[in-house]
Structure formats: structure tokens, C-alpha cells
């Protein structure tokens, strides 16, 4: 890489110990990137342990960011720049790097002890390991401690400023000013003036290090083009932030308070944290004693007239399963968000996967259909949250919204929507009639089969609901054979009717007929989009997974081959076979890492040549 380079896009990976502040450094770099008008996508990749043993490969925390002129839709395949704070961080990142990548190493992290912990017999800075790369080393720990010496901090306190020192140097490389980061430090450490000043000093010292003679000769400055985005106001957003805003917006659109009931679990907790800061939107958050209590309290809140929402990840969703059936039987609105992660069992808590689609569509006792949606990007989480609430209230049903660990944490620039254009959300009114309260509570709307949302406190509408099979007209307990058939048919029809209210499936890219179409869902949107664009392949991305849009079968039928890449063993492919009698080519990946554009491009080429089926 040459000095003062103009490039289209660049992938930067930051890696260090989980206590090194890598995620903070990465997210601040992302914000600074956003403010400079450059497009980006991020991928936080961190261990399940909060503070894994220092210096080990399994304790490495990394943050990858792809930035450039766009459209940038993935965190990038192979990093062009690696900043590694210790040998373990270098070791786990090395195989990912692009040949010729710039590798910046913290000399002070390369102690004999750390080398041994990373499993290096000899120092990689001296052998042949790094011959393919451009290596720059700096005594980051020492330079940082020197810079913050004047504040009289302890060695460990002072040492913790080094992520800001390194961020300062990185921002210099990309020609950024320090304003946004400085503002953030001032706000975050307002009550700790010494730490605040020390971190700001470290930031400036790192920046000055790049700028002055000390490193300018070695460290290239990289100039990225600004994005050619459509005009409007933008912000940086993660899926968790967008989903929280979507739920809050849905409450406003429905003119109902939101009661969000949840139990902490990775990677779902950020939604709980975000919503607990949206009180003034009429949002309440209840941290329940367990996953089951969380969904049950949400059901109770819906029964009481608020919009009950719960959220978890795969294992927690499994625990909520029985209660979902109760909400189906009682015909109550409810939104269940699943931030999927690697499974089975506890699986890979911090790694992403899409392996809960079967669970969402098929995974309950009895014939218990529930509409299933999936968000495709961080920003899309906003729209899909609103869509989930809209369906729940219209049809008086629980709705499952699938997201995943990648969407929860990854940030992207988001065009702020015009909230005045959002349509109000309606629920079924109580009919005026002379019938009994029980009958009025179960008088269903013909188009949606949603029943009126009758809540305790309403006079003369007392009725009983429950988990036992109920009479179709009165809600009384019924074991009548014909009634159970009628209720089972009704529950199935209600979910099928959702398809009448959702938009037809559109092409994401390419012609609407031909030899090959790629079908994706969820957070694989980014890499599939890029691979489809690069290869000129038609691309369809699904957001409504159950039921499918009504035109989907006909649309897919116009292609000879359907390729389905997904981060599981082929669950959407199965669903397409089941619901549309298609025979798609499944392209599964279950490594806990997002798809690389390159591996998709290869697969598409192979399929086009007829080498894969």
C-alpha cells in the first residue's frame, strides 16, 4: 500500500484482548466514519467470556469495519488493515488478511509470555510469517503511558487509554478530525475529569504520532470517497437501536403503551437496554425472572391492553414455546423477537446464525401457526418491528420477528425515515351488538379473523379465555370434535390471511425470470447483494417467511434454478420445498461467521456452469 492512497473501499480489522477496549474503539471509529460521509458496515466479533484470560487466542476481541464509496453492505471479506494489540490477536486474524495488507502491531504486547500464550514458538515479527504483508510496529503501550504520564494515573488506569491512542493514529490515517470522539469522551467521562483528560490526551497523542515525523514515513494516509447516497438525513444505527425505535414507533402508531418483558441473554440484551431509555414513548420495560416469565408477563400485558413484546435468542425462545401456544389459543397480540445465534443448546452465544427458522415456523406443540418475519439489515429492523406489531394487532396473534446476533451489533448508515408518512396501526374494535359479552369478545373480523381486543376493566364484556380448546363463538371450554376442527382451521386460516395484507415480493436485483435466482433472508442480505451485483444474478430477499408473499411461488417458478444461501443447514430451502413444492439448491454455512462475498461469487459461478445442484 502506497502513501496517500485514494481507494474505493477498505476493510479495517482491530483485534486485541477482550479487556483492551476494542469494541469501543471500533464503534467510535464507525461513528467518525459516518460523520465524514463515508459508507460503512461493521462486524463486532468478540468472545463469549466477559474477560477471557489475557493473551489467549480464544480471548481475542475483534471489530471489523468496511468503509468506502459504497454501496457498502457487508463488513468486508478480507481486511486491508489489521491493528493487533498482541500475538494472539495477530494469530487469529492472519489467515483472514488480504495479501499485502497493512499490519500494525503493538510491540509492547509481544512479550515472551504473550508469544507463548498465543502458541508462537518464535516471534512472528522476525520470521517469515509476515513476509506477505506490510508491517508497521509501534510501542503503543509505552507511547500511550508516556503521553498520559502527567495525569498521575496508576499503570493500569493509564494503560486503559491505549485504545484511544491507537484510535487517534487510525483517525489520522483516514484523514479524520477528532471532534466526534472527543465529544463522546467528554460526555461519557464527565464525572471523571482526570480520566476524561487522559483519554483525550491519548487520542491527540496517537493522532500527532501519525502526523509528525514519528510515523508519517511508514503509515499511509488513506482517502476514501464520500458515499453517493440519495439525499436526506442519515445516522449510524445498529439493529438493536433500530428495532427499539421501531417498537416505540409502533406504540405511537397504535396509540397504545408498549410493555417490553425480557430476560437477559446474548445477543438479545441490547434491545432491552435500548427500550429502557425510551420511557417517554410510553414504553415500559420489565426484567423478568426467566424467559418463560418474560413472555408470560408480555401476554399478561397484552391481555391488559398494552402491546406486549418479548425478545430473546434461540435457547430462550425454546423456553417461551409453550406460552406462544397460549397466546395463539387466547387470540392475544404479542411480538416475539428472536436474535438468533449459533446452536444447538447454548451453542455459540456471540456468533451469528440463522438456524431458528424451523423453530419459528414449525416448533410448537399442536397445530399452532404463527406469522414469521425477518429483518434484513440494521435499518430494516425499524420497519419490521412496526410490521410485526401491525400484524399482531390486526389478526390478534403472536408474531415472531427473526433477527440475529450480527444485526444486533453491526452498525450501518441509515437514512432517517419520514415518520409522518408511517400509517397508523389499527386493532379490532368491540362490536356493538345485543349478544352476550362472551360472543362479542369472539366476534371476528372476516378479512383478518382478528377478534376484538377486549381487556379487563371494560364494563359488561366479562369473558373467560385460556389454554384449553374453546368454543368458536363464546370462548367457553369445548371438547366438541367439530369445534376443535373448526378452531384448528380458523387458526390456520388466520395466519394464511396475513398474506392478503403484505406486499408482493419484489426483485432486489436483476430480471424477474431467467436461469438463476438467489433467494436470501435475514442478515445475509449484504453479502448476497454484493455477490449478485458482481455476477449479474437475479436476487430476491424475503422479509415475510410465514406466510410467504402470495406471488412468490409464481415468481420463483420463472427461474430454472433457485439458489438459497443461508447460515444454517438449509432451513429456508426446506420451507420453500414444503410450501411451494420447489427444489432449490441449498448453500448452507454454519461457521458462526457471515458469508464472504467471494464464497458466494464462487458458488454462483459453479451453479451457472451446472457444477452444483
Amino acid at each position: 500500500m502506497n502513501k496517500n492512497k485514494d481507494v474505493e473501499s477498505i476493510v479495517v480489522r482491530l483485534a486485541g484482548d477482550s479487556g483492551d477496549g476494542i469494541q469501543l474503539m471500533g464503534s467510535q471509529f464507525a461513528v467518525s466514519t459516518a460523520l465524514s460521509g463515508v459508507d460503512f458496515a461493521t462486524f463486532p466479533d468478540y468472545p463469549a467470556e466477559i474477560r477471557a484470560p489475557v493473551g489467549t487466542t480464544f480471548g481475542v476481541s475483534a471489530y471489523q469495519i468496511n468503509l468506502g464509496g459504497g454501496p457498502i453492505t457487508t463488513p468486508g471479506d478480507a481486511p486491508d488493515v489489521l491493528v493487533a494489540f498482541n500475538p494472539a490477536a495477530l494469530k487469529v486474524s492472519l489467515s483472514l488478511l488480504k495479501r499485502g495488507a497493512l499490519v500494525i502491531l503493538n510491540n509492547d504486547g509481544f512479550t515472551p509470555r504473550n508469544l507463548a500464550k498465543a502458541g508462537y514458538d518464535s516471534d512472528p515479527r522476525e520470521g517469515d510469517v509476515l513476509t506477505d504483508f506490510q508491517v508497521i510496529t509501534a510501542d503503543i503501550t509505552h507511547l500511550n503511558l508516556e503521553a498520559v504520564k502527567e495525569f498521575g494515573l496508576s499503570k493500569s488506569e493509564g494503560g486503559r487509554c491505549k485504545n484511544f491512542w491507537a484510535l487517534g493514529a487510525l483517525l489520522w490515517m483516514f484523514g479524520r478530525d477528532l471532534q466526534s470522539v472527543e465529544t463522546w469522551i467528554k460526555r461519557r467521562l464527565a464525572e471523571h475529569p482526570t480520566l476524561r483528560d487522559a483519554n483525550i490526551t491519548a487520542l491527540h497523542a496517537g493522532h500527532a504520532y501519525g502526523e509528525t515525523a514519528e510515523l508519517a514515513a511508514a503509515l499511509p494516509q488513506i482517502h476514501l470517497p464520500e458515499i453517493k447516497l440519495e439525499s436526506g438525513e442519515y445516522r449510524s444505527i445498529t439493529g438493536a437501536e433500530a428495532l427499539a425505535l421501531g417498537i416505540a414507533a409502533a406504540g405511537e402508531l397504535a396509540d397504545k403503551p408498549i410493555m417490553f418483558c425480557s430476560y437477559p441473554i446474548t445477543p438479545a440484551s441490547p434491545l432491552l437496554h435500548r427500550l429502557s431509555r425510551l420511557c417517554e414513548m410510553g414504553v415500559g420495560t420489565f426484567q423478568a425472572e426467566d424467559e418463560i416469565a418474560a413472555i408470560c408477563a408480555a401476554i399478561g400485558a397484552s391481555y391488559g391492553g398494552m402491546i406486549g413484546v418479548t425478545s430473546s435468542s434461540g435457547p430462550g425462545i425454546a423456553l417461551k414455546t409453550e406460552a406462544m401456544g397460549l397466546a395463539v389459543n387466547a387470540e392475544l397480540p404479542l411480538v416475539i423477537v428472536n436474535w438468533q445465534r449459533g446452536g444447538p443448546s447454548t451453542g455459540l452465544p456471540t456468533k451469528t446464525e440463522q438456524s431458528d427458522l424451523y423453530q419459528a415456523v414449525y416448533g410448537r406443540n399442536g397445530d399452532t401457526p404463527i406469522p414469521v418475519l425477518a429483518a434484513s439489515t440494521a435499518g430494516d429492523c425499524f420497519e419490521m418491528a412496526i410490521e410485526a406489531v401491525r400484524i399482531a394487532l390486526r389478526h390478534m396473534t403472536p408474531v415472531i420477528l427473526l433477527a440475529d446476533g450480527y444485526l444486533s451489533n453491526a452498525a450501518e448508515p441509515w437514512k432517517i425515515p419520514d415518520v409522518s408518512a408511517l400509517r397508523p396501526i389499527k386493532h379490532q374494535p368491540v362490536p356493538d351488538s345485543d349478544e352476550s359479552p362472551e360472543c362479542r369478545a369472539f366476534t371476528r373480523d372476516a378479512d383478518s379473523l382478528g377478534r376484538p381486543w377486549v381487556t379487563p376493566g371494560m364494563p359488561e364484556l366479562m369473558h373467560r379465555i385460556g389454554g384449553l380448546e374453546k368454543d368458536v363463538a363464546t370462548g367457553h371450554i369445548s371438547y366438541d370434535p367439530a369445534n376443535h376442527q373448526a378452531m384448528t382451521d380458523l387458526r390456520a386460516a388466520k395466519v394464511e390471511l396475513v398474506a392478503n395484507f403484505i406486499p408482493d415480493q419484489q426483485m432486489e436485483l436483476g430480471d424477474d425470470s431467467g436461469d438463476l435466482v438467489i433467494v436470501g433472508w435475514g442478515s445475509t442480505y449484504g453479502p448476497i447483494y454484493q455477490a449478485a451485483r458482481a455476477t449479474g444474478t437475479s436476487f430476491i430477499h424475503l422479509r415475510h417467511l410465514h406466510p410467504f408473499p402470495k406471488n412468490l411461488g409464481a415468481l420463483l417458478g420463472r427461474f430454472d434454478k433457485v439458489l438459497v444461501p443461508e447460515m444454517n443447514t438449509g432451513q429456508l430451502a426446506t420451507l420453500l420445498r414444503d410450501k411451494l413444492c420447489l427444489d432449490p439448491i441449498s448453500f448452507p454455512k454454519v461457521s458462526g461467521q457471515p458469508f464472504l462475498i467471494s464464497e458466494l461469487v464462487e458458488k454462483i459461478a459453479a451453479v451457472k456452469k451446472g457444477q452444483a445442484s
Partner: protein
């Protein structure tokens, strides 16, 4: 002014389907009477139950009712009470539903002190599943699942409740109309979680398990009816009293006629005495054993919520986030 409702106004048209002679009939009667006595309104009352014989209760009360899933009634009732704190929310559970599969939810409802009135029908047996031993069954209980006698030590609902931080714990006997009426009214008036353990006779699978103190022949001598601020007297002529032995820290029975000064006066606010009363065995302590008023969870939840669950801002106030930029 609305007409005052009677117990009959709280009965539904549904046919009650408990076994003939089941203790639940008497409890249902006491509850509908108590609702009338406290002036409850039908639309502002909700019964939430789990699974078990007693869990059919909501279908038999002319209020709002939600018959939910096994063990989860306290969690569902918690969401309901948070959504509408004006409601009177009653939870109907049993020894299996509340202390086995749903023990966690009961524990957390009690520690939060959310405004639920929880009726725990304790018959020391699983009735609906046909007679297996329950978490309150005594060691050696023979049942279809323990033909050689159970080996599990039983849980004490009262000790469980106080250990979890309950602020109201009372006991009643299913057929004791006077005692039940008293504890139901007290539970209704309490702001927070009130737990009533009801000794309920399952005539099919565990008949007379409480007969040692519920049988009319023994009731006077084996039941201690507690009243706050009054001496703990019992016996046919109120001639026996409860004495606190300060050396052994145990409760003992004394001759109340001979040594009236020794008889302990009931203080509902004492958790220490409550724990001793819970373990008292013949006489069995009945009535309000422990009551310690404090702020309810829903009151704290709303007081702590910056806008008391009202929407005071619009999504437009939040959607831009901490910083945004313009693209031309």
C-alpha cells in the same frame, strides 16, 4: 350509585365440574361472598389461574378470567397488573402449580410485592393428574408414582413465602367460612402480594390429610386463630395459650388460665414470630400470620417510570439519535 352486588352476581352460568364433596366448592363460595362483601366490581376484577383442579376457578366467577398454563399464572398476572394497576387481580394456584412447576414465578412475585391476591390451594397431592405426590406431600406418601411411599421432604409454603420476602401470608381452611372470609378480606385490602394458603381437602386422592386439625372434633383444640394485637389463645374454652420460650426460641403451649401473662400477643409485623407460627404443629396457626405493609411493585414501577407509562414524546424526538448528517 350502582347496586351492591351479592355473591350470586359473581357466579357464572357455567356448570361447576369439581368432584362432589371437593373442598373447592366451599372456597368458591367464600370467594364470591368476599367479592360481594368488599364491594368488588365485576369488570375490574380478573382471576388468573395456572393448571390443576383449582385452576378451573376463573370459569366459575363472573369477572374477567384467564386460565393459563402450568405454573405461570403469577407471571401472566404480573404483566396484567403492570398494564392496568387499577384491576383487582387474583391468582388461583395449587401446591403443584405454585410450588413445583411454578415455584420460581411465585418466589419472584412475592419478592417484588406486586399487587396480586394469590390463593394457594394446598391439598398435598396432584389431583388433576390422578393422585401423584406433590411438593407438599409428607414423606412416605403412597401414591401411583410412589407406591412404596415418597422420599422427598415437603416444602413449607409459609417458610417459602417468608424466605422469598413475602409481605403478607395468611392461612385458611376450605370449609371454615368465618376464617376464610376474614383472610380473603384482609388479602384484598393489602397493597402488594398477598398469599393465602388454603388447606383444601381432596376427597378422592388425599382425603382427610388435614383432619388432625380440620375435623370438627379437634378444631377448637388444634386450631389457633390469630388476630393482630390479641393474645394467642385456643382450646374449647380459650384456656390454652402460646408461649415463647426464650431459651429454646420455640413456641410452647401453656395453661392460659394459670399463667395468662405468659401468653404471646400476636404481632403480624414480626417475621421472627411468623416463622415460628408457620412451623407450629397442633395447634396449626390460621389467619393472617404475617403482614408488613410496604410499597407495591406496581406503585414503584409507575413512580420510577419518568412519564408513568404515558407517551410524552414522539418517535421524531428520538429517531435522529445522538448525531446525524445530511447528504445533498
Amino acid at each position: 350509585m350502582t347496586e351492591k352486588l351479592t355473591a350470586k352476581d359473581f357466579a357464572t352460568s357455567q356448570e361447576v365440574r369439581w368432584c362432589p364433596g371437593c373442598g373447592d366448592y366451599a372456597v368458591l363460595k367464600s370467594v364470591t361472598k368476599a367479592l360481594a362483601d368488599v364491594g368488588a366490581s365485576r369488570e375490574n376484577t380478573a382471576f388468573v389461574s395456572g393448571i390443576g383442579c383449582a385452576a378451573r376457578f376463573p370459569y366459575y366467577v363472573e369477572t374477567y378470567g384467564f386460565h393459563t398454563i402450568h405454573g405461570r399464572a403469577p407471571a401472566i398476572a404480573t404483566g396484567l397488573k403492570l398494564a392496568n394497576p387499577e384491576l383487582d387481580v387474583w391468582v388461583v394456584t395449587g401446591d403443584g402449580d405454585g410450588l413445583s412447576i411454578g415455584g420460581n414465578h411465585l418466589m419472584h412475585a412475592l419478592r417484588r410485592n406486586i399487587g396480586l391476591k394469590i390463593l394457594l390451594f394446598n391439598n398435598e397431592i396432584y389431583g388433576l393428574t390422578k393422585g401423584q405426590y406433590s411438593p407438599t406431600s409428607r414423606i412416605g406418601t403412597t401414591s401411583p408414582s410412589s407406591p412404596r411411599g415418597s422420599v422427598d421432604a415437603p416444602i413449607s409454603p409459609g417458610q417459602f413465602a417468608l424466605g422469598a420476602g413475602a409481605k403478607f401470608y395468611a392461612r385458611g381452611v376450605d370449609t371454615d367460612k368465618v376464617g376464610m372470609s376474614h383472610v380473603l378480606q384482609q388479602a384484598h385490602a393489602f397493597e402488594g402480594t398477598s398469599l393465602i394458603e388454603i388447606f383444601q381437602n381432596c376427597i378422592v386422592y388425599n382425603e382427610d390429610v388435614f383432619a388432625s386439625f380440620t375435623d370438627r372434633k379437634h378444631a377448637a383444640n388444634n386450631q389457633l386463630h390469630l388476630k393482630h394485637g390479641e393474645p394467642m389463645l385456643f382450646g374449647e374454652n380459650s384456656d390454652k395459650g402460646i408461649y415463647l420460650n426464650r431459651d429454646t426460641l420455640e413456641l410452647e403451649v401453656v395453661d392460659a388460665t394459670a399463667s395468662p401473662e405468659k401468653v404471646l400477643v400476636h404481632d403480624e409485623a414480626s417475621a421472627t414470630i411468623a416463622r415460628l407460627l408457620i412451623d407450629l404443629h397442633l395447634p396449626v396457626a390460621l389467619g393472617v400470620i404475617y403482614r408488613q405493609p410496604t410499597v407495591s411493585y406496581e406503585a414503584a414501577f409507575y413512580a420510577h417510570h419518568p412519564s408513568r407509562m404515558q407517551r410524552t414524546k414522539s418517535i421524531g424526538d428520538f429517531i435522529k439519535g445522538p448525531s446525524s448528517w445530511h447528504v445533498d
